[in-house]
Symmetry: C2
Subunit: 173 residues, 2 copies
Amino acid sequence: MELGFEEKDFLACCGSTKFAKEMALASPFASLEEAVRAARDIWFNKVDVNAWLQAFSAHPPIGDSPPASHHHRTSPTSAQWSKGEQSTAIATATGSTLQELSEWNAQYREKFGFVFLICASGRTSDEILAELKNRYPNRPIIEFEIAAQEQMKITELRLAKLFSSRAKDTIDQ
Amino acid sequence: MELGFEEKDFLACCGSTKFAKEMALASPFASLEEAVRAARDIWFNKVDVNAWLQAFSAHPPIGDSPPASHHHRTSPTSAQWSKGEQSTAIATATGSTLQELSEWNAQYREKFGFVFLICASGRTSDEILAELKNRYPNRPIIEFEIAAQEQMKITELRLAKLFSSRAKDTIDQ
């Protein structure tokens, strides 16, 4: 069984138009594994640093809930997934943690020029805040690469969601 | 003897406004060595990846002579220095090398999203072309770091010119 996807499906996984275009060109994929392999190659070897920055800019600051989709160039699917990925963080957050997270997010953006990016799935807000403080002293180029790796983890989780939702649709028909 | 410089002087050395601002804040410097040490710290540890991209965009494509200053955001000083740095390349260039360089430059920009950057001082156009072909297969993030290192070499040469011209002005007075 081969599942065909469109550019907009991949754009919900990773907000770089270049990435989404390349994925659409490489599809259909015989399996999720094949799609993930292609996604890694495209993300790390093919798209340029501007594409990375574009993908980062599609994320709301972590802890911002709900994402203000008119501010952050996010599709409804992406916004919904983002909320799901942050559900542990949101469930465990206290007002003071959220306040501190918001302040550190702003400081991070000031230093690095892009949003703090972390694969939030299953992490509490305290863990996310600790990681933000831990990564903050990094050199900008190091942090740029870490952010790209985190983006890839998020992309992989979302590709899995895309495949399972499509498989379900196929069975339902 | 301490030499005071303004933001625009540093901007001619490296086209990132953030870099130039930080250098102006860190000046005056007691010596060229002190200025170079500050410049390295600011460039590699303080300014973000957007500042790197801004600095890269201030360079004309290598081999383009004279630089079209209305296209590439270059100051008259920067354009003049750029010409001097490329004097060996220009003196050794044949028409076919320049043509090939121009084609590879375009291909490089298409892949990496920024201009091919090399400290051209003392290099022939054949050497520059060979280096372009050699670097072209690199991953985008690797090439981004190499370009930043080349930019730093260019910045150091230009800081030296800045210091020697100012020292001369001081003696002349």
